[in-house]
Structure formats: C-alpha cells, structure tokens
C-alpha cells in the first residue's frame, strides 16, 4: 500500500515529461511495439478528432483521503492542489452556456474541496441532465463532517459513481488500504438506505471496478454479475451498473509497473488487446477535462501527463466550444489503455 504521493516522495515519475519519455521510449522506440499513432492511422483515425461535446469533466483537486496503489492522479492527503471558488465560477459560466449534458466531478476525493457543496448547488441550478460525482465511498465514512453526504447527493439527484476494487475484503484493502473495504460497504449501505442503487430507483449508483494489478479487466457483464451476487448475498447491497476500467500506465500505476518489472508485459498486453472498433468511442471524443487550476485537457489522463489541448483555447476563462471542437486530440502510448479489449472509459466499456 502506498502511503504518500509520488510528488511528496520526490519520485521522478511525479514529473510528466519523465513519464512521457518512458511511454514514448523503450519497446516503442526500438520498434518492438507499434506507436498508438501508427495503429490508429491504419484505420483512418489519425489525427483523432472530437465529436459533439457531451461531457464536462471537472477535477476539483488532487487531495484525497486515500493513497491507492494504482492512482493515475497521484492523489493523496499530501496533495494540496484544489480548485478555488474563482475557477469554479469560471466553470459555472461555461456550464450555463455549454451544449454538454453531463457534468462529471472528479478528484482526488472531490468532496474534500471545501467549496464542493457550494459548487454542486450552483451547478445543479444550471440544468445539467446527468450530474455525476466520482466518490471513493470511504470519504462518506471518513469523518463526521461528511456523514450527511448521501442526503446531500439525494437532494440534488447526483449520480454517484463509486470505485470498488473487489467484492472481497482482502483484494480491496490490498489496493486501497486497510479498512477500506468495511468503510466502503458501510457507505454503500448508507446510499442504499436513501434509495440509491435500488432496482427502479432514479437515484443512480454505479460502481467502478479496475484491476488491482498488472492485468486487464475481464468482461464487464460477467464482472457485474459476480459483484451483484456477492454484494447482495453478503451484505444486501444493491447497485445499478458496474463499469470495468483498464488501468492506464500513468503516475502511481506506471511506477508500480516499472518497480514490479511488469511494464513491458503490460504494454504488450495492451497492444495485443488493441481493438480498432473501440477507437471511435474513446472518451476524449466527447469529453473535455478541466483541471483544478482551470486548464483544459482532452481527458483526465492527458491532464496528469500535462498534455493540454491543442487549441487556441487552453483555459476555462477563454472557453469557446466551437474553437475547442476544432482540434486534434493529443495521444501517446497510454491511449492503448482506452482501446484494449472492449475499450475503457470513465463510463466503462465502449466497444
């Protein structure tokens, strides 16, 4: 279990250019594996272009109550970067005028931003159709000051998407820290008690599963069946859908892959599982990601690699949807993670 972010440890992988050197070098530079660019060029998708913007994903800060081993954000209690109210106001102005129908708040633990609730309240007034908060679950039970969050979510009909590594205690705690499983179960029960995740309920509760190690996720439907059965039988817990997400070789997961000597094998596995039919629907084609300090990115992964959008508009304060939609998406070898197998996005499989 990690205890500190790479940044706090002064690990060289906290620097995005170091990560990009690795992703562009090694087995790719020596020709053993093809560059992502060449692979999508074969099917006429290079340069990768956006479609209609549907999702605004806002990362309200890298602070988190957990320090998960695989975190591509390198989030943790020691990360202090959080969105200010001023930047939130710039986001709100955009939310009111955008054609996007989904607002997706992420972090770190978004709930730890002191202006989180204010922001949700203001954004809720703007008439977004699907309003998502990515909650790590344990935050709801981390401290008394967060106990009311399930009621707060319910009040604003927030769609809660929660990470849940496995339906067994051992696997969950190993990836996310001791006690995480029990706290997550308690949080899910609290959400269920408010009607979240119940069959037929409008209060949407989805779970996100990502592998705890150097392997790809299995079939999303099969995993959902297993999760539903186990969580219901063992704890009486209900939820709507399970999204299976592939870990992308970025930040702490990249560090883990290298330290455990799995990097090459993992990249081979990703390239081997490359699925051309997933390319058209990778999430950067309908999403814009906004960082805590207001910069614009093609996705949360590019944000962590500090690859800002290739557009005249680079900051939320200058936001212009038409200009932005006329851009080429920036790609690198981490993009194989989004096109492996059934594809992977924040909403689960895409192919």
């Amino acid at each position: 279990m990690a205890t500190k972010s790479l940044k706090a440890k002064g690990n060289e992988l906290a620097q995005s250019n170091r990560q990009l050197d690795i992703l562009n070098g090694g087995v790719f530079a020596d020709g053993e594996l093809p560059y992502f660019k060449d692979k999508i060029n074969e099917i006429g998708h290079f340069p990768l272009r956006p479609k209609k913007l549907e999702i605004l994903q806002i990362n309200v800060g890298y602070m988190c109550n957990q320090v998960c081993e695989h975190c591509h954000v390198d989030a943790g209690p020691d990360r202090k970067e959080i969105m200010t109210r001023e930047t939130m106001q710039q986001c709100l102005a955009v939310i009111k005028n955008t054609g996007a129908h989904t607002l997706d708040l992420t972090g770190g633990a978004p709930e730890m931003n002191p202006d989180f609730e204010w922001f949700v309240e203001e954004a809720a007034k703007a008439g977004i159709k699907d309003f998502i908060v990515r909650s790590n679950l344990t935050i709801i039970r981390a401290n008394k000051k967060y106990y009311h969050l399930p009621d707060f979510f319910k009040k604003h009909n927030v769609h809660v998407i929660s990470s849940m590594p496995h339906y067994t205690r051992g696997k969950t705690d190993k990836q996310r820290g001791d006690g995480v499983f029990d706290k997550s179960i308690k949080a899910l029960q609290e959400l269920n008690a408010r009607g979240y995740g119940m069959p037929g309920s409008d209060l949407r509760l989805d779970l996100v599963y990502n592998p705890s190690g150097a392997y790809l996720p299995g079939d999303q439907m099969a995993m959902e069946k297993d999760f539903k059965k186990a969580l219901d039988e063992d704890f009486g817990i209900q939820f709507h859908n399970l999204f299976a997400i592939t870990n992308l070789p970025i930040a702490r997961f990249l560090d883990y892959l290298i330290a455990s000597e799995n990097y090459e094998d993992y990249m081979y596995a990703l390239v081997e599982a490359y699925n051309p039919s997933a390319v058209a629907n990778v999430m950067c084609t309908n999403t814009i990601s906004i960082s805590w300090d207001g910069w614009l990115y093609d996705c949360d992964f590019n944000q962590m690699l500090d690859l800002k959008v290739a557009s005249k508009v680079k900051h939320i304060k200058d936001y212009n949807e038409d200009l932005l939609n006329d851009r080429n998406i920036i790609i690198s070898q981490h993009c194989y993670g989004c096109t492996a197998g059934a594809g992977s996005s924040c909403q689960g499989t895409v192919a």
Partner: protein, 111 residues
Amino acid sequence: MADTYYNPKDLRKFGKITEWSEELGTKFFDYYGKVFEEGALSAREKSLIALAVSHVVKCPYCIDAYTKDGLQKGVTKEEMMEAVHVGAAIESGATLVHGVQMMNKYDKLSM
C-alpha cells in the same frame, strides 16, 4: 539471460505457431477459442479448470497465462489455490490408484 529451456517471453510468441502450419495452427486456435467461450460452464469456471490442468501437465506458460486470466476474471487467490489442490489430488489419486495394479500383480506373482 542464461540459456534455459523456458523463456517467459516465448508465451507472447505462441500465436506464431500458425506460421509453420497455417491450417493446423488456425484449427487449433479456433477450437481453443471456442472451448473457452461462456457455455454450460461459465468462462470463470473454465479458467479455474484450465489453471488446475496447467499444474497437472506442468506447463509454466499455461500457469502464467491462467493465473493472469483468473485475476482478470476476478478469481480470488483462495479459489486459485483450491483449484490447484483439486488438480494435485486427482494427480496423486491417479498415481495411488495404480497401487491396486501393483497389489494385484504382487499377489499374482506371490505364493
């Protein structure tokens, strides 16, 4: 790396078996792929059977492949180890049951 009979990286080249006999190799992979599809047994159950058999036939490539496959399918390490014991039990039972043949032969040859 020192020369050894097994190289983990060779597993990546398994697909190349078709290069020297396209027809038979392709037939094998078609069959193989079909066997592991969801059927009367779930893909998860098949993965555990494959893991147990990998140990019985003592194939290091298959052990690597089906440990990973099990992880991908959400199989726990307890389930994996139980599967290996099932393989081991059958394997040792199969050895031991031949003891009956030995006993028969012994009795036949003895006065």
